[in-house]
Symmetry: C3
Subunit: 480 residues, 3 copies
Amino acid sequence: MTRPLDLNPDRLFPSDPATRAIARTLYAEIADLPIVSPHGHTDAGWFADDAPWSDATALLLAPDHYIFRMLYSQGVDLDALAIPSRAGVPATDPREAWRLFAQNVHLFRGTPSRLWLDHVFAEVFGFDVALEASTADLYYDTIAEKLASPAFRPRALFDRFKIDFLATTEGPQDDLGAHHRIRASGWGGRVVTTYRPDGVIDVEHEQFGRAMTRFAELTGEDVHSWTGYLAAHRKRRADFRAAGATATDHGHPTAATANLSAHEAEALFAKIVGGSWTPADAELFRAQMLTEMAAMSIEDGMVMQLHPGSFRNHNAGLFASHGRDKGADIPMRTDYVHALKPLLDRFGTSTELSIILFTLDESVYARELAPLAGHYPCLKLGPSWWFHDSPEGMRRFREMTTETAGFYNTVGFNDDTRAFLSIPARHDVARRIDCGFLAQLVAEHRLEDWEAAELAHELTSGLVRRAYRIDQPEAAAKAA
Amino acid sequence: MTRPLDLNPDRLFPSDPATRAIARTLYAEIADLPIVSPHGHTDAGWFADDAPWSDATALLLAPDHYIFRMLYSQGVDLDALAIPSRAGVPATDPREAWRLFAQNVHLFRGTPSRLWLDHVFAEVFGFDVALEASTADLYYDTIAEKLASPAFRPRALFDRFKIDFLATTEGPQDDLGAHHRIRASGWGGRVVTTYRPDGVIDVEHEQFGRAMTRFAELTGEDVHSWTGYLAAHRKRRADFRAAGATATDHGHPTAATANLSAHEAEALFAKIVGGSWTPADAELFRAQMLTEMAAMSIEDGMVMQLHPGSFRNHNAGLFASHGRDKGADIPMRTDYVHALKPLLDRFGTSTELSIILFTLDESVYARELAPLAGHYPCLKLGPSWWFHDSPEGMRRFREMTTETAGFYNTVGFNDDTRAFLSIPARHDVARRIDCGFLAQLVAEHRLEDWEAAELAHELTSGLVRRAYRIDQPEAAAKAA
Amino acid sequence: MTRPLDLNPDRLFPSDPATRAIARTLYAEIADLPIVSPHGHTDAGWFADDAPWSDATALLLAPDHYIFRMLYSQGVDLDALAIPSRAGVPATDPREAWRLFAQNVHLFRGTPSRLWLDHVFAEVFGFDVALEASTADLYYDTIAEKLASPAFRPRALFDRFKIDFLATTEGPQDDLGAHHRIRASGWGGRVVTTYRPDGVIDVEHEQFGRAMTRFAELTGEDVHSWTGYLAAHRKRRADFRAAGATATDHGHPTAATANLSAHEAEALFAKIVGGSWTPADAELFRAQMLTEMAAMSIEDGMVMQLHPGSFRNHNAGLFASHGRDKGADIPMRTDYVHALKPLLDRFGTSTELSIILFTLDESVYARELAPLAGHYPCLKLGPSWWFHDSPEGMRRFREMTTETAGFYNTVGFNDDTRAFLSIPARHDVARRIDCGFLAQLVAEHRLEDWEAAELAHELTSGLVRRAYRIDQPEAAAKAA
């Protein structure tokens, strides 16, 4: 006997009937608005080449660390799931991997992955029975069949998902070839890049040397001199702007910033590239570079995104066998009040600069981030991130930031995903949770219904478009 | 077309109908109890002189950093809002400033400022249309007209608001002239002072030298000797007691306390007044002074209030141009467990001493403050403070402290405001949220209805009166 | 006039009627499942000797630091409550102590103690009037009478409570005599021990020297040599396994672990037993011993429990007069991400090892613990602990851990109590809160009803049985 799969139209709305009715009305007005995805990790090559995906395991399981980390945490072997390791893709039959996943799908009860998967299965693939051991093959075969059809090519799905704007993330060592091919193709989808320079800033990253070499090749600058290095950033930022970027992104371990004199910065850089640095030097250099990037953002109009607080590759054994991005990044306690001060001492009163702050440490929402964003003109709050990009996480974000920062110092939703097929699901969860939160305010007479309707539009569309400057070609032109 | 302004009688109550009905019943019994305001920052001069306020901008906008920081965060210029800077009050037409505020009033959606403003507009001024761009002038003119009438003088409003007790906050360098004039006037309103000695304790405050000079003048003591300095505190504490004070207040950066020997304390003081101190000395001196103040509180019966954890004047640019109290104070992570131990090692088992603890770091509610207050006889929990003095903030406070500290180790509500007209609004929000919280406990059968009714009275009146010893003339007499 | 005492059948369920109905249905299916209590502090001697308890004060008041700390916090004298001090049991009439408690029972409004007490009074003793001053004697006399009857002997209550498994906690310096007597008695109740070696690991504990002496006597090992010390642990672990233990427990101040070489560990141990250690050495030794215990757990199959983060004996005055466990332990901020890394670097990928993590610092639920348990195969999350073992605390635990760790990386409920009579009450609270949480997920269409029913069973029974390996005699046999 199979179980039905059906997405209840009231899912994620508050359970109180009167509040639910308000949420339903708010949601009806914004449910079908186009998707704006200003921050994520899809592969630009998909849209450049528009090649079909192969199978369910390669598309839905192997790249999604939300899913395989949960299976791994319960003792499931990664090889049996066909997860690539440093040794390559294991010789596991992808169908067997999918079956193993299907047998364990109960592990996802209560998690956002469950919500996203159900949405993908029902809405994207049209399943009406739930995934479980007995339907694993049905799923596997149906998905393979659909993926082979033109309607499931990347660009077709992009259109079907009503995506208006999709940002990917690349580093200065990337030639942006896929983005150039997209533009050259004449396809109308707006897929843009984001400038994420961590690879040439974080000397503790194992690929730093290689990234610097490539940085030099792509810019023709002497990237081992401080002035050449800064000039190379400027060149690549201009390249990224030309490829549609409106934003930069910075994923440092901490939110530390620094405000060194030009002389001090140059001396520090010499240690970094000279190889004589300590971990404290590496941290100080990352800190200083945030301030340098802020200076360049004032020049070229790119919005900065700060994503600090992840202890990367925490599982030493797994890192040795499987490398990065295997679900072993763990959030850390993160300070912003002291960390951001050097940068803010320099640029804090600017109304040109815009920095969007993210956190993995929810204890800072009400204590630090909302007060900072509720004061500084250059600071805004990114939505709940990563582990907190979930119904409860989104509710906590709104409950702990709105009273101090208001709605207008936030920037709408980020899906932040590699899982392209889940993008509509993720935006739908965010829209439902936001409408539920607004409905609660209306039900408690803290907000009028017409205000809530206006805010639902803003949270879905207006705030994100303005925060990421996606309708400002003139801002883009600044870089030229 | 204007929008109506009307305060729903059920506002802020839980949305579930049965729970709401319980909340409504509880609230009806305590809604009209007199206001006890044991901690705040109104100007005693208002009640001494009973002069009319001039206009909406000067009364409601310019002094309220909750409001102008939000406008500033969205790029609104402070000069255009008529906010005073170090250069003085800008030459902005106050009506234009008010219009600018009215155009941006949507920024306050979802914030407590919105709730307080609506209450002031509807209940104090009688507006039945909402503030927006099109009603800015109507508001401005009506407010100006009302403020000119006798019914809107400070004392008349004090009576109309049914304020039973109102504490202001002054430093040892204040001659308490306004308080003396209030007493000499024969007016019956109970407006008292609070002893806040930070100005002569915090050597890192830019006004320390000036405050010490004044401290010496007012006491006739050699405040640069350790014994003279302590004697001067005793004299001024007695003066404050005579002006009605029942409490002291301490707004240090951290909650650190120290328990130095008399000899060590004297040596430290010599460094402080000798100008050879380090930041660590300044911190240790503040820490030691909390313990000294506790010793004096045991002598004279004054309740201590600790308000640590604010990073003052975080925005360096704004501090340079506009000075203190411009909405740029940001909460910091704050430890209490280790910080309070030295003081508690000395006085922790006292049943004479009473210290009310506040925090801006909600992560300590359940972890540190509730366990401390739920154990030590000398510790009580102040209500949710500043950024957390809001519907969600108050709910979190109750949810995270009640199970460990109970209700009886809390002290009722503080409005903590400079915004005199908002005092009834703030107390009303607190009463509604408390009744909602109690109603939830009743609805979940965790509390009987008659117990909730008793607690609603206690949270509104009994606890605050006892915690601040406001009905204990004998305690006051101790100082004599 | 007395007040009725009656336990509402819907207590602790969500107030929304539809959600409540779902919770009620879920609860009905699991309400009567046997109790599995894998972690607690009852006295094995009770079950060995099956002697009657004497009176209400000695049974319910004096050993329960949740209760007397609250009374103490409100200025009630501990002697008047008949709480033992270092000087012995005070000469207080236990009836007078009980009356004093009854007069102050309002202090427990809103606390879990109130819920547990009401359950004990109504369900265990059959009272239908509430405890208050006027019923104090009725309570005292009725309880004394019942305790004298065979039905209220420890083993009779154990059976009546339907306890399937009860773990106590003993140290390596304990001869397990009570456990041996239980086994020798032929009584069928499954009461087992837990290996808690803190007494011979924490050199800062005032009893360390005495514990080590006893450790040597009981094992015949030279416990002052590193190899002898480790061998002694192995022997005692085997003894504990033979007395039914399936788990160890570690109550260190922090979660710090270390991964020293054998040589470094031996040198550190020499400092510890040589008496030349610093506090840093003591901390490093505790850290290293967690890793050593993990190694032994892989050998013998015992599950590890980590209970870090309590600042023990915070009240110096009370510690001097009354000693340990007097309600003066205060939670501290606790890091896990960095603290656990050395141990995880060594054993993190093991699927043999199982470590159950607890915390008193709720800010780590979503930030650290759920991500760690949602990744590492050897880590699971213990339930909300101590101060957080309460309706709101349990809700926060589920809300902040489920989305990242899922349900299956949690281990059911621990009552963790010395208060034997409250065990059914505590498990009932947990079952109700879990059913309410599941009902909320169903009401919001995040979970199907049949899944919630399955999970209710798992949270009550399946997860705890598997996590503590209580149905694995073969795992127990490993130690032989």
